[in-house]
């Protein structure tokens, strides 16, 4: 079918990835991945979103090398400078700290919040949802009523209550957001599980003697993960906004930490005369939130199981 000697090296690895007769599980998996990438690539906006997210990651990873100043170094002689000032291209805040450097370090915090919330909330939701959907009966009822209770609260209000109880701080903000983020994931995972739990391949696994844990892990979860990844990516914008909101209210990141929401909060006192102090971190939040939304949209087109 695909002759590896057909032409140059580039076609060879493409042919290997796209071959109908992969020689190993890994090659088959990579092939699927590559097909997905080819489809994803066609969505320009999604690629833009991916690039911005990658940029966020790069900036967060290399913050000390990218930042031009120490984000905590105060210089009261140079406070509230407008953007475009030589040396402080994004301006300075009320303590004369360089806004660009604070944005760069803030990327670390934003990324940490997003990653940690996703890493805590998604597995909890997946586990609760698949267990409830597969077991059915009283376990389903109990787990879903608990989920309903969490869903009934507006997430920012519930996060506020948690933070108020646990004390302000970035770690507690992450825990609070994670605790409010998992119920929709449980709902999605349960709905997916119910549509597949009576399918023939699950019946086959049961006939082969597979235990419930194996059926959940090897058969049901892989099919739920796709829609969950899409949903988590789309939620990341909301997570960033909630974290920024908590920071804005003084319940998330504490001064002098360079967190974008807290930066807006500090800048709001000067918003009429020195608008850029609050606007620049706001633009950063909008950009990253939008990027995650675009990425999620693109992923949905590729991963939606109902399309294949």
């Amino acid at each position: 079918m695909n002759n590896p000697r057909a032409s140059g090296a580039t076609t060879t690895w493409r042919a290997q990835l796209l071959t109908d007769t992969p020689a190993s599980r890994n090659q088959a998996r990579l092939g699927q991945f590559y097909r997905g990438w080819l489809q994803f690539k066609r969505n320009r906006l999604a690629v833009l979103g991916l690039l911005i997210v990658l940029l966020l990651i790069v900036v967060a990873a290399f913050a000390p090398w990218i930042a031009t100043h120490d984000p905590y170094a105060q210089d009261l002689a140079r406070r509230l400078l407008p953007p475009g000032t030589p040396g402080n291209w994004f301006g300075t805040d009320e303590f004369g700290r360089d806004t660009f450097s604070r944005l760069v370090y803030g990327a670390r915090i934003t990324l940490m919040i997003v990653v940690l919330v996703a890493a805590i909330a998604a597995p909890i939701g997946l586990l609760v949802g698949t267990a409830a959907g597969y077991a059915g009966g009283w376990l389903d009822t109990v787990l879903m009523r608990v989920t309903d209770v969490f869903l009934a609260f507006p997430s920012l209000i519930l996060a506020l209550a948690f933070v108020a109880a646990l004390g302000p701080g970035i770690e507690n903000a992450i825990i609070a957001i994670a605790l409010t983020a998992w119920p929709p994931y449980a709902r999605i995972a349960r709905a997916e599980t119910i549509t597949i739990r009576n399918s023939d391949y699950i019946a086959v696994a049961r006939m082969q003697g597979a235990r419930t844990a194996r059926i959940l892990w090897a058969y049901i979860m892989p099919l739920c993960v796709a829609s969950l990844v899409v949903r988590v990516t789309l939620d990341m914008a909301g997570i960033i906004l909630t974290a920024a909101g908590l920071g804005f209210l003084g319940l998330g990141a504490q001064p002098p930490m360079a967190e974008w929401g807290a930066m807006i909060s500090a800048g709001r006192r000067y918003v009429l005369d020195q608008w850029w102090v609050a606007t620049i971190p706001g633009i950063a939040i909008i950009t990253v939130s939008l990027a995650f939304n675009l990425l999620g949209d693109g992923l949905r087109d590729v991963l939606d199981p109902r399309k294949s």
Partner: protein, 257 residues
């Protein structure tokens, strides 16, 4: 090999309950190929799912190879396996052929996975080139071959077949039936085949039972079926109907209960 006595399957409860099978009894000898025939809703697939251990709501007696079907006996997976009707729904969409065939071995703790998978693929006429494909890279007939290979991975004595060809193209149906006949001989399998297609039953089976409304109407051997000499009026009607649409036959169809 298969003993079923007074098998009754009830779905639902109280006044809204439906008895999908009523006092079904039959016996299949070792190495025999037995067919269950009937129109849609006659309860033939229900009986098959009970024997597969997939339906817990039944009363009566059912043993396969001396093992009681009730109570999830650990010996059952190696005694009885099943091939489903729709090959598009019976393979996990995110598992390669290799994974689908390795799973039963890993679940049962059987080693020597790679060579066994390759042998199984060759056995069903696919060959090792198909080993790492995903189901969406296979045709319906190829998928059904994979499903058959998967059912045989644990070397069961009994194979349950639920309309194994009715979702396939006519040209592929014969291939799959011939494959099943060959595998039955090679592995000494006992087959229990459910179908509404009398030609398939006549091709595959030694004996058959005709079901209507959850009950076994009559049992006969294939020679009787070929001579078109059934005992019961219902079976005669089924045979007439199976020849294709005929205005006179259609007008004369009676509901038997």
């Amino acid at each position: 090999m298969i003993h079923v006595r007074d098998l009754t399957v009830t779905f639902g409860q109280g006044t809204r309950s439906v008895r999908a099978a009523r006092d079904v009894s039959f016996t299949v000898a070792k190495g025999e190929s037995f067919g269950l025939v009937g129109e849609s809703g006659s309860g033939k697939s229900t009986v098959l799912r009970v024997l597969a251990g997939l339906n817990p709501y039944w009363t009566g007696e059912a043993t396969v190879g001396g093992v009681a079907v009730a109570g999830r006996d650990a010996r059952l997976p190696r005694m009885v396996q099943m091939v489903f009707q729709d090959p598009y729904a019976s393979l996990h969409p995110r598992h390669t052929v290799d994974r689908a065939l390795s799973e039963p071995l890993e679940i049962q703790g059987i080693g020597d996975v790679g060579p066994r998978v390759e042998r199984a693929l060759t056995d069903v006429g696919l060959g090792p080139a198909f080993r790492f494909r995903y189901p969406n890279q296979l045709s319906g007939g190829q998928r059904q071959r994979v499903a058959i290979a998967r059912a045989l991975m644990l070397e069961p004595k009994v194979l349950l077949l639920d309309e194994p060809t009715s979702a396939l193209d006519v040209s592929v149906q014969a291939e799959i039936l011939n494959l099943l006949r060959r595998l039955r001989q090679a592995h000494g399998l006992t087959l229990l085949l459910v179908s509404h297609n009398l030609a398939v039953i006549a091709h595959m089976c030694d004996r058959l039972a005709v079901m209507n409304r959850g009950q076994v109407v009559e049992e006969m051997d294939v020679a009787t079926l070929r001579r078109q000499e059934p005992r019961e009026a219902y079976t005669r009607q089924l045979l007439l109907a199976s020849r294709g649409y005929d205005r006179e036959v259609a007008a004369g169809i009676v509901t038997y209960d």
